[in-house]
Amino acid sequence: MAKPLSTGLNILLLALGLSIITVLLLIEDQFENKMSRDASGIDLVIGAKGSPLQLVLSSVYHIDFPTGNIPLDEARKVSRNRLIKKAIPMGLGDNFEGFRIVGSNHEYLELYNASFILGKAWTKPFEVVLGSKVAKEKGFKVGDTFVGSHGIASASHEHDEHPYVVVGILTPSHNVIDQLIVTSIESIWYSHDDTYDHEKLEQEVAKTGFPKTDEARDLTTVLVAYRNPIAAIQLPRMINSRSSLQAASPTFEIARLFELLGIGISLVESLALVIIFIAGLGIFIALFNSLKERKYDLAVMRSIGAAKSQLFLLILLEGLILTFIGAVAGLFLGHLFLYLLVIVNEQSVISGLTAFVFVEKEWWILAYALLVGVLASIIPAWNAYRADIAAQLAK
């Protein structure tokens, strides 16, 4: 190549455009996977009135703030409906240094097929089980204690009266439970009480179903699995018609979220396409200009027996090699970008993503880049094909 600098710039530009597409592809693919994995087994979420999307995000994916609390009695009444196969009550709203503390029962662990690396599930109030990521990051072992704080972000005021005790650590499961601290609903209740009834602290907590209490207590949400498809039609309408409760379907809300995000994604995507187009144009101009300088060389090659078609292929191959280098660099950069993105955002939604996978769609990026190569070099190659050697040599 005659001009290594400008050619390098064009390849870099192409790589940049392709890397953006790669990142989008990787995130899209894994995100949707993760989203549906986290929500598997959950058909409906029941919680306080508010934004249904917020309700789903806070209680299934543990990203947004909860919409509020609902009375235990009312939640229990609704959950007795014959269309409900399983109802898992949850109490949210506390955290430990940014990791959310989820009050629920053992059914929540079963929902994600959680298994233990160390220890076992809780049986008494203030016993907790740690997701693998929490344990790793905080360096907790079974038997360690810590104090949770109110609110779901770190640095809220602390419940310093009663510490939590770690009784179990979960194996990594690559879903949302990895970054949660799971305990009983009773733990959440008692930590917010002003006085402690020491007798209650020694009683076993409810391992399935709703916790037993004769006091007026609150829950945050109930995760529901349908008994049959009819439930999907009847249940949400029935619950939403009640004044204080709201039902939201994770599938529906996430589809809506992606629809909203889709505008942003397609904006970034079109930007990437424009960059790729400019890169293709740059490669075209570089090939076209270098061809002017090399026309004599090509004519000489013809005079020593090179066929027109061979020169055509030569120029085409040059364009293809350049874009192939760009494509490989782009794929590499894309994975690198995602890797950095995941490292920087340890505790956010994308923390569960990995840069070390090869998605099948990435072959399309390669194919797409080679197509750009063909388009960029076809006109220069055609010029080389029909060049008049005698006229060229006479110059």
């Binding site: 000489v300 027996g305 027109k308 005698a390 006479a394």
Partner: protein, 212 residues
Amino acid sequence: MIIVKDIQFSYENQPKIDIPDIELNGGDELLVLGKSGSGKTTFLNILGGLLAPHKGEILIDGISLYKLKGHKLDKFRGTHIGIVFQKPHLLGPLTVAENISLPHFFAKKPTTYKLLHYLKELGIQDKQNARIQTLSEGEAQRVSIARALVNEPKIILADEPTASLDDENATLVVNLLKNQAKKLQAALIIVTHDQRIKNQIERSITLKLIDL
């Protein structure tokens, strides 16, 4: 070996180039003389299958050159005709040996087939891995001759091969062309206006333009 019959050619709105009929056998030598612009290079291009004449026929080994089309003509040129230009026109990114074996490559022969032989014949074997930019003009011209000879053509065409060389190299190059043509039993046609060559080759024709 080569027969030139009734060739007529003229560029648009230009006087016609007067091209005499020629017949050369293997080992024959011919000098094509003429003033600048008298159509010497055009004649050479027609002989080399690079420029189709308006009328007439070129027969090489009994094959009519311009009845061959496209790919076949390119292949025929590669295997039967060796062309030496005024400037060597070697490909910069390749080494000396790669430049010389290029015709082998295009003719789909093993690339080292006659390579060493012609490196030796032209006294450039110690330069075989050198880069083109490091060669002197005389060496570069010898490389380009080796490239023209490596497929052992029946016809060797040289277009002003000595124009940019000093006396010593000019004599060397003409002798090389004559010797190699003899060895290959090929017809040698040199187009030139170089006075130094004139007395080294007996047979010559002079081209001129015919006004319409």
